[in-house]
Symmetry: C2
Subunit: 367 residues, 2 copies
């Protein structure tokens, strides 16, 4: 088992990564500080619950917990206030009290939704993240929880740290291949931002990663989580440096919003966004090799780096203007300076971004 | 102007109390740290907005702020997830960003709802409380914000401290008499909990308080807020001592839930609840004079101390069992030991509480 500590003073918590960890979920809940005999609410989705919920419930009950569950439809559409209220109803009907905890068993959708429930049920109860996607190595660490508003993604939420992140690698074995690649986009993102060596390591080990070699994957998730933990420790509420974790996300979110959520997966959209950021870097005078290398790494992980031709540039620009990363109308971008190093650049001209988007739609070399 | 500091380290904030303070609202927003030229969203209700919103908007605009407003229907029913989503929609359409702030102009309903919007819009933006009821001296201080779930009051919310509480006493002059009394219930509650002298002072000055003598009222609100600020400073998230502020609320919340919200006002319900707590105290061996004095103080403020006969005991008991102040089925009550002093008593027998409720319905002396 690999363990990382996320350091937030008296709200610090561990991330445990390993195969078969769910077998000891009862012990883990005790370690997380959830009183035995209290009520736990497991939130999961229709893909994950049939595979992993029964064993989880049984293990928790055996330890003496009273277990309730709420299964949401799989997919981004469940990150809504409507589903949020339904989970709240379950929690109230189950009689959860201030000593209870919410366990998020699933990917980023389940984690973000269940986290906001935990953050706001009775103004905050216990919370554990049990990620079952690769992408969720990112979403389960750092305490950003949210639901979407029909007009904008992740608009309603909180900063709410879990008491523990428990990553059972065995659950990843049932992930569909596109979800594997999508998750690896956030893994390599952590390398691209802060760890050159790790970024190249991801390219070298692309085959094992895509093939779900759990030993290799465990290392990748440990590195990804460590890098993220280091960044957020000093900026829990994203007032400054934490923004670097949004590499590729400004363009990526716009792609998701314009294309419809789920058409391109989150990791696929930000993969295109990271290619776009590297193109923008070239336009701002950085070395063109950053783009070449970025594209090569992403492609090795079976990720898209071009924007499908039907995406409308005006609509994408419009969506970006609404994105929360813009202060008072100015465009802010996370721009790579090299592989493994980025800057936060304010005052990026909209016309440059528009050029980048046009080029992302073209085949062949941009130069 | 009277000013009190609520001490939460680097999240400390002032409460300003005085006549005509709204005239300088622009300056206050600057002091509160809201950047000039940022967007502010004023949330108010249909009773308060026509009276005070236009002047407030004009003053803010004059200072250079961009001002949006959202007016909710007056009344407890607006503390719902539905109205919460509507306010969120306004905020998104207005393009509020992380530098924006929400101003709650109204009573506890507006403050609780707008506070939860501020706490969760983009995971938390600026927030100012501008209370316009006496009751809101309580709700605007301490950072408890929430909306109701159809099944339970205040079930969905956060701990989220404002940047400032701005109390313009002039706004209180338009309060209907029942709202005045209802608000004074929470004022005298602060005396009953921790300040014997202040509790007796309230009884002595009942006529001036009910007659809205702003000098006398200003002092009462200052004392009430100070007592509350002292308690919460050491227990922001109500893990211990803060619970004493719930004197009268276990029975009071049950009365509100069973009778229908708004039938008895919140302060009226907790007035009956405080009389009930004093009765319970007598049953637990405390001096009977606590009950006599409590009832005399509440009556002097035109508050009810008896439960209307049609309230069903079983329904009230049932409602209390659902109340969040019960850990794992045991009943916890805040019980007066004397005027100005209370204890948190766990393991109160349900049968005793049932006796108290029966007696609250009877005319005449309980002994
Ligand atoms: N909070 C954050 O900091 C943060 C960071 C990144 C992404 N996110 C959010 O995360 C979400 C995306 O997360 P995701 O990619 O995990 O999406 P997801 O939760 O929708 O999971 C992807 C799909 O895989 C299925 N699935 C999950 N685990 C499985 C398993 N073990 N076997 C088989 N199928 C499984 C799910 O049912 C779903 O259909 C987005 O909403 C995004 O906004 C949040
Ligand atoms: N957050 C907390 O710590 C806390 C503490 C106590 C109570 N509360 C909550 O506060 C709410 C009750 O607060 P409230 O009594 O202020 O209720 P309220 O906000 O409903 O106001 C009472 C009535 O007075 C009207 N009103 C307000 N200001 C007025 C004015 N200046 N002139 C004329 N009319 C005016 C309102 O429109 C409303 O009809 C409840 O929801 C309760 O749960 C919260
Ligand atoms: Zn992401
Ligand atoms: Zn109250």
């Amino acid at each position: 088992m690999r363990s990382i500590k996320v350091d937030f003073g008296d709200r610090s918590y561990p991330i445990h990564i390993g195969s078969g960890l769910l077998q000891n979920i009862g012990e883990r809940c005790v370690e997380a500080g959830f009183p035995v005999r209290s009520s736990l609410l497991v939130v999961s989705d229709t893909e994950v619950a049939p595979r992993y919920l029964p064993a989880l419930e049984a293990a928790l009950q055996q330890k003496g917990y009273t277990v309730y569950s709420h299964v949401i439809p799989a997919g981004e559409a469940s990150k809504s206030l409507t589903v949020y209220e339904e989970v709240m109803t379950t929690a109230i009907q189950a009689g959860l009290d201030r000593h209870s905890a919410v366990l998020a068993l699933g990917g980023g959708v389940v984690g973000d939704l269940a986290g906001f429930v935990a953050a706001s049920y009775m103004r905050g109860i216990g919370f554990m993240q049990i990620p079952t996607t690769i992408l969720a190595h990112d979403s389960s660490v750092g305490g950003k929880v949210a639901v979407n508003h029909p007009l904008a993604k992740n608009m309603i939420g909180a900063f709410y740290q879990p008491s523990m992140v428990l990553y059972d690698l065995n659950t990843l074995l049932t992930l569909p291949p596109r979800q594997v690649s999508s998750g690896l986009a956030e893994v390599v993102k952590h390398g691209l931002i802060l760890d050159k060596e790790f970024a190249y390591w991801c390219r070298e080990h692309a085959a094992e990663l895509l093939g779900l070699n759990l030993e290799v994957l465990g290392y990748a998730l440990e590195r990804g989580c460590s890098i993220k933990a280091d960044v957020i420790r000093n900026d829990e509420r994203e007032q400054g440096v934490r923004a670097i974790l949004n590499l590729g996300h400004t363009i990526g979110h716009a792609i998701e919003a314009v294309g419809g959520y789920g058409v391109l997966l989150h990791g696929e959209a930000i993969s295109i966004g990271m290619a776009g950021s590297a193109l923008l870097a070239a336009k701002l005078g950085r070395d063109k090799s950053i783009y070449e290398e970025t594209v090569s790494m992403l492609s090795a992980l079976s990720l898209p780096v071009r924007l499908p031709a039907h995406y409308d540039e005006d609509e994408l620009m419009e969506a970006m203007m609404h994105d929360k990363k813009f202060k008072e109308g100015k465009m802010t971008f996370i721009v790579p300076d090299a592989i493994g190093s980025v800057s936060i650049v304010n005052d990026v001209q909209a016309s440059l971004v528009r050029e980048v988007i046009a080029q992302l739609k073209k085949e062949g070399s941009p130069w």
